[in-house]
């Protein structure tokens, strides 16, 4: 059901690859200001769902509404202009551009494009914010994995999104880095950005998400607060495994 | 009657295209060298066959036994001395493509210049076999049939080599992902050199065979390079069977258009087909989607 408060409303979305139904009649809502975790075993269709929302893939069936507008099947650039930004599971920075330009890439073409001197100063500020100011002239391809992830976030934020999609953005951080990163995301949410995040790091999910949607084989198997959803036996069986309780 | 004629003709022609393209699938598909001098090697082999036949009275089939190993060796050296440094200095596949285009463009001129120096710019042609077979009342030239036969034999042998044997699987692994191949203990440099040299041997074989029934001169290499590239790309880079199929299809189209539409549109038709295939399948007939 699409409620009037939902920023993102996904209903009955299906996407096939050949005979495989990667996403199979999935529905869920995300209210404005919320952080929703999208969880599930490997290959359950999480990234595919993110791709459908961001426009990287077109759904075979179903609707995806952003603040009431149906965006299903629109090209990704149009969706970006509607206010959805994302990061990628396999990090994607612009390899031959420096960090400043990478962020300007997010500034120049979104809903409220900024260019010229204004863009320069905004880009500097965004780099500062993700802790990358000292790397401003380093090329994308020369950054470490983590720095690339930071840069990706800065670029996504540059679009001034209403909805931010994070695909395993926290993967590969060690616990103390995780604390920093979670802090950063909290701040971003504090500025009114709604988020959907795919993550396998349960600590992060528990401390960040308001709600979780849990998928398996393309369908939703549980939904609710992290505590509720992660306690469902089906979820434990398919996703967490026994020693998650340890 | 006309149909059978066109069919047989298309198959022989297509066999020749497939034959010509086979070496390039290895050189480009496995060794990742976009070899612009490919056709020059073919022409050089054709001239060698001509010289061996006319001057040394060695027939082209025996010439294969001479020319192919020499070409294999020469290409192996070229890879080791000339191309490997490019592979080392290129940071990604795109850069290697640009570098190999530039380098083999230089090589093209060197080989063409040597052939010019030795043979001049004239057309050459000779007759070795002029027998004709009849298949269901349609004539078919023995030399062409031979070329197709060799294409099929080489194609099958190569396919089995790549799919059934350990070194072949290693070659395919290199073509799929050179970095991962290293980790699997494969000597990527040796494998690439082998693939490039095998490709060189194949193109030499096709040069010898093609010389039996076409007229050639020192400047014609680029014609074969482009034909081979089109066949390879249409089939899907690195896919041997794709190249075979693409070659046959192009041959058939050319033949049927000549008979049923107009000979003036044969080349236009093959290019149209090629472009359509790419528009429908951007990575060629057998190419992996999203690759």
């Amino acid at each position: 059901m699409t409620t009037s408060t939902a920023l993102l409303a996904v209903s009955d979305v299906t996407r096939r690859f050949g005979s495989l139904r990667a996403v199979d009649g999935l529905s869920f809502d995300v209210a404005a200001g919320e952080i929703v975790g999208l969880l599930g075993p490997n290959g359950s269709g999480k990234t595919t769902m993110m791709n459908l929302v961001s426009g990287a893939l077109k759904p075979d069936a179903g609707t995806i509404r952003l603040a009431g507008h149906d965006i299903a099947g629109l090209p990704a650039n149009r969706i970006a202009c509607h206010g959805i930004a994302r990061t990628f599971q396999l990090v994607r920075v612009l390899p031959s551009m420096n960090c400043l330009d990478n962020v300007k890439a997010g500034l120049g073409f979104g809903a409220q494009p900024t260019w010229g001197a204004a863009a320069d100063s905004k880009a500097e500020a965004l780099l500062e914010r993700v802790g990358m100011a000292h790397r401003r002239l380093t090329l994308g391809k020369e950054l470490t994995y983590m720095d690339q992830k930071r840069l990706e976030l800065a670029r996504a934020l540059a679009l001034q999104p209403r909805l931010l999609l994070l695909d395993e953005w926290l993967a590969g951080l060690n616990p103390s880095e995780l604390v920093e990163a979670i802090e950063l995301l909290r701040k971003v949410r504090g500025e009114g950005v709604t988020m959907v995040m795919v993550e396998h790091v349960m600590d992060a999910i528990r401390s960040l998400c308001d709600r979780c949607v849990i998928m398996n084989a393309g369908v939703k198997i549980a939904e609710g607060t992290p505590a509720e959803a992660l306690a469902e036996p089906e979820v434990v069986r398919a996703y967490l495994g026994d020693d998650a309780h340890a | 009657m006309a149909f059978l004629d066109a069919l047989l003709n298309g198959l022989t022609l297509g066999g020749m295209y497939a034959l010509v393209a086979m070496g390039l699938t290895l050189q480009y598909g496995v060794a990742r060298i976009m070899n612009l001098s490919y056709g020059e090697f073919l022409i050089a082999a054709a001239f060698s066959a001509y010289w061996l036949f006319q001057v040394q009275a060695i027939n082209p089939l025996l010439a294969l036994l001479l020319v192919v190993p020499v070409a294999f060796g020469a290409n192996w050296l070229i890879y080791q001395l000339m191309l490997h440094p490019l592979v080392r200095r290129s940071r990604d596949r795109g850069e290697l493509e640009v570098n190999s285009i530039l380098a083999t463009f230089g090589l093209l001129f060197v080989i063409q210049g040597l052939v010019l120096l030795l043979f001049g710019s004239n057309y050459f042609s000779y007759t070795y076999i002029s027998n004709v077979f009849m298949i269901a009342g349609s004539p078919i030239a023995a030399d062409r049939l031979l070329a197709v036969g060799v294409a099929v034999v080489l194609g099958t042998a190569l396919y089995l080599l790549l799919v059934r044997t350990r070194p072949g699987t290693a070659l395919r692994a290199v073509s799929v992902d050179p970095r991962a191949a290293q980790l699997a203990g494969i000597d990527v440099r040796a494998a690439s050199a082998m693939a490039f040299a095998l490709g060189g041997g194949l193109v030499a074989a096709s040069g010898v065979l093609v010389s039996m029934f076409t007229t050639f001169n020192a400047s014609m290499g680029v014609v074969f390079t482009m034909k081979a590239l089109i066949v390879v790309i249409m089939g899907g880079a690195g896919h041997l069977l794709g190249a075979l199929a693409a070659g046959l299809i192009l041959g058939l189209v050319e033949s049927f258009v000549a008979v049923y539409v107009a000979p003036g549109l044969t080349l236009a038709a093959t290019f149209t087909l090629f472009l359509l295939v790419l528009l429908i399948r951007p990575t060629g007939m057998m190419g992996r989607a999203g690759a």
Binding site: - | A6, V257, G264, T266
Partner: protein, 387 residues
């Protein structure tokens, strides 16, 4: 503005510098390498062996500057400009083919050089000569050649040897199309039954489709207005497919030594453009010299005119007693010259008397048309079976 070099008889150079840029590489290289380059070399060697060209009371040897135009119009234009401006050659010999001759014509014209466009064939010959007053042609127009073969067909029909079913194909480039258009019009006018008429794009390698289609229509005469590689391919595939009409005609390349080398005895009876009069001693002698010096037999269509054009140039210079372009051109326009083609004149700045049709007979490409000209051999019909 004509910039002809000041060349008074008394301040003659030590040698005559002659420049040419022909296609050593690229698609025209085959034609140039067969027809043009060997003749240039032969002529220069012969003249220099004889002490040079006689200008006034002096014998001036020839000095050659040669470039490769790489079959490109732009290269040809620049190479000729280089020859004229940088190398300051006294005369420029023409490149191969209609396209390149037309490309360099304005350059030669501006600089005031004579232009002996031997291998250019165009139906707009007159037009071009009007435009460029020092331009000479040595091969007739395309229609002229078409006329040659069609006239021959008419004669054969009159004598009852054929009824009149003709199949024709042509290469879709300028020369091929002009030939085909002219032939088609003439054939229709003369009420022939054209059972097959198609064109194919330049660069076509496979001719089986065409031969098969033609064969199925069972023509008595098969005319291919083709270029050397296709001439070979067509003949080759006609043999393969057992297509043996009484009259088998292929155009450019039939007269090449290559053709004979390739097909041996099977050339017997094949018709083509050009031909030589084997009764002419000068011609026979020329063929021998050419074969001896360059290691290859001449093209039996355009080689002799090429060589003849050089003889014309030499004789014009000798008669003018000067290398002044205007004087030389005047001699060429008005004189009679002793060449391998016999005594020729260039009235109206073109040589019209060349052979139109030849046929391989007993291993020689003999001239057979126009049949009423002296030296023409009898046509052999029907052509013998392929072996």
């Amino acid at each position: 503005v004509a910039l002809s070099l000041p060349a008074m008889a008394d301040d003659l150079p030590e040698s005559i510098r002659i420049g040419y840029a022909v296609s050593d590489t690229g698609p025209y290289a085959g034609g140039a390498g067969t027809t043009i380059t060997p003749n240039y070399k032969l002529w220069v060697e012969e003249v220099n062996q004889a002490g040079g060209i006689r200008v006034g009371d002096r014998q001036l040897p020839i000095e050659v500057v040669a470039y490769d135009d790489r079959s490109s119009s732009e290269e040809a234009v620049r190479a000729v400009e280089r020859l004229i401006n940088q190398d300051e050659v006294h005369f420029v010999l023409p490149p191969w083919g209609t396209a390149l001759n037309l490309a360099v014509a304005p350059v030669l014209h501006r600089a005031g050089y004579p232009h002996l466009a031997v291998t250019a064939v165009s139906d707009r010959q007159q037009d071009l000569m009007d435009r460029w007053p020092r331009l000479f042609f040595f091969l007739s127009t395309s229609s002229h050649y078409a006329e040659g073969i069609v006239t021959m067909l008419e004669e054969l029909r009159e004598s009852g040897e054929i009824e009149g079913r003709v199949a024709m194909v042509n290469v879709a480039d300028q020369f091929g199309i002009e030939l085909a258009n002219a032939a088609r019009a003439l054939l229709q006018e003369a009420d022939f039954d054209v059972v097959y008429s198609q064109s194919y794009p330049p660069g076509t390698q496979d001719m089986q489709g065409i031969i098969n289609s033609a064969r199925q229509r069972d023509p008595e005469a098969f005319l291919a207005f083709s270029y050397p590689p296709e001439t070979i391919a067509i003949t080759d595939q006609a043999q393969t497919l057992g297509f043996n009409p009484p009259l088998f005609y292929t155009a450019v390349g039939t007269a090449f030594p290559l053709f004979k080398n390739r097909f041996g005895d099977n050339v017997e009876g094949v018709l083509g453009i050009g031909g030589v009069d084997t009764d002419s001693e000068v011609m026979v002698d020329y063929i021998e010299r050419h074969t001896e010096m360059t290691g290859q037999a001449p093209d039996l269509w355009a080689s002799a005119p090429t060589y003849a054009s050089l003889q014309v140039l030499q004789q014009a210079i000798e008669r003018a007693g000067s290398i002044d372009h205007e004087q030389v051109v005047a001699e060429m326009e008005n004189g009679t010259f002793d060449t391998v083609l016999g005594e020729i004149t260039l009235e109206g700045r073109a040589y019209w008397e060349g052979w139109q049709v030849g046929q391989w007979q007993d291993g020689v490409f003999r001239a057979i048309g126009p049949s009423d000209r002296e030296g023409a051999a009898e046509i052999v019909l029907p052509k013998p079976d392929w072996r």
